[in-house]
Amino acid sequence: MTSICFEHVSKWYPRYQSLSYGIKSSLLNLPATIRSLKRERITVLNEVSFRIRRGETVGLIGPNGAGKSTTLALMAGIVEAEGGRVSVTGRVSPLLELGAGFHFDLSGAENIVLHGVLLGLTRREVLSRMDAIIAFSELEPSIHQPLRTYSSGMIARLGFAIASCLDPEILLIDEILSVGDLAFQLKCNAKIDEFKRKRITMVLVSHSMDHVRRLCDRVIWLEKGRIVGEGEPDTLIPAYEASTRARHAENRPSAA
């Protein structure tokens, strides 16, 4: 069963900067503004097609600006594609960046409810999972303290505890596993293994090839908005690393 399917998906952004200069200049030069909006496009994804089956863990790799995060945003339904078709079957739970969506004046417990409701659950559903989330986060002594008293490691633990206790069907993970101490990372890894056993679909964006190799069944390699390669981590990651090294070596003489 397919859980995520991209068919010839293209995504571009107009240069919104020309608008953000202000009403006055964009109205005074209205024809120019409209022309620039049409012409100055930045293509982020170009006719990308792939299919992710239920229960698969797929890693997106590629250099900065390859379109990895845009792909995740399309899966989460946060942005819309200009061309092609995105279909997602199942409840998507994005694993947020450290602290995003948290409110620092509220307590840990209040943030759990806020976060859970924002991610699509009702209050009843969040409250029924409250104890499990608190237990997993190991933050019981300070759960009623305002979040601004937490350390960044504690916030990361809270975020992961929430996302992992909400029974996601599709989990989108954007560079989050590199935060937190070793104990937290081990715990994350154990939880992700559990998700794999439960056949939860996961899409992971990471620059840590060790993570990708360890966790992913399949890797999609993006570069400049196109798919360069798709396949087993063991074959694709060495190729990606080799190409990055080659480019680095190429650039070095010109930089000197």
């Binding site: 946060i78 942005v79 819309e80 994005p94 995003a100 509220l106 209040e110 924002l118 209050r123």
Partner: protein, 269 residues
């Protein structure tokens, strides 16, 4: 250009709890606003009432005592208009910033974004409701007794004002993501609107030629209705009808702008 479709399966899962979830979102975000507003201030509630009271005192001295506006019970007259105005002005001034202040959420999570504006306007509305006892106190001090008609008049006007303010706020909040200097224009707009709305004066005092301008102001019938209700315990269905007509207008504008622009929010915020 072909619209992407999130397949039907995702929608059906959430449908049975859709309204409960939407309600929970509104409640939780309104609570968040309330808490973050009062968390670090000892005098929380006092502050939100002190501001309009201070202005009432200033206008009372300047217009009532110095310029001698020929209105009976001018203090009560001012308070009855200023308190509801405060709800409108605070919400509208803050509106351009609502989506920007929640940029991280909008970029990362898929949820109905207009709820952010709903909860903001609601939050200001709750403050207005909490200030109704203060209005009552000022009226009593001026020998005006609260009327039974408040019981159904207040809810009718609360709903009308919420809809009007929400319509304006969602329009400004959406547009400001694309035209950032709207924020500054809004502050000017509110100042102009304040003096074009019969708050410090009554529309009966305006010369005929200006009365059409006042008539075109979508907010004027609302403030006039509040004042009629508070001061005389009565309201005209005709004026209330025009309040709801304004509400329909701002809602249509707001819904259209939001509907056109919200798919791009995450890209520009």
């Amino acid at each position: 250009m072909q619209a992407p479709s999130i397949s039907a399966a995702q929608e059906t899962i959430t449908r049975d709890v859709y309204w409960e979830h939407l309600w929970d979102l509104v409640v939780i975000l309104t609570q968040k606003e309330m808490k973050s507003r009062y968390k670090n201030s000892a005098l929380g509630y006092v502050w939100s009432v002190a501001n309009p009271l201070l202005f009432a005192v200033i206008y009372y001295i300047v217009f009532g005592q110095i310029m001698k506006v020929p209105i009976d019970n001018y203090a009560a007259f001012l308070i009855a208009g200023l308190m509801p105005w405060q709800w409108l002005a605070n919400s509208v001034i803050a509106a351009p910033h609502v989506f920007l202040a929640n940029a991280t959420l909008i970029k990362k999570v898929r949820f109905p974004r207009h709820v952010l504006v709903v909860s903001y306007v609601l939050n200001e509305g709750i403050h207005f409701m909490l200030s109704i006892p203060v209005i009552g106190g000022v009226l009593l001090a001026n020998g005006i007794r609260p009327s039974w008609s408040w019981l159904f008049g207040i809810p009718i006007l609360l709903v009308a004002q919420f809809l009007i303010v929400y319509g304006i706020a969602i329009t400004l909040a959406s547009l400001n993501l694309f035209f950032r200097d709207l924020e500054r224009l809004t502050a000017l707009f509110i100042t102009v609107l304040f003096f074009l709305t019969p708050i410090t004066y009554s529309s009966a005092m305006a010369p005929d030629s200006y009365r059409t301008v006042l008539f075109a102001n979508p907010v004027a019938p609302l403030i006039a209705s509040w004042r009629e209700l508070f001061l005389h315990g009565q309201f005209s269905w005709l004026v209330i009808g025009s309040c709801y007509l304004s509400a329909l207008g701002t809602l249509l504008a707001g819904t259209f702008v939001y509907w056109r622009m919200s798919p791009k929010f995450a890209e520009v915020v």
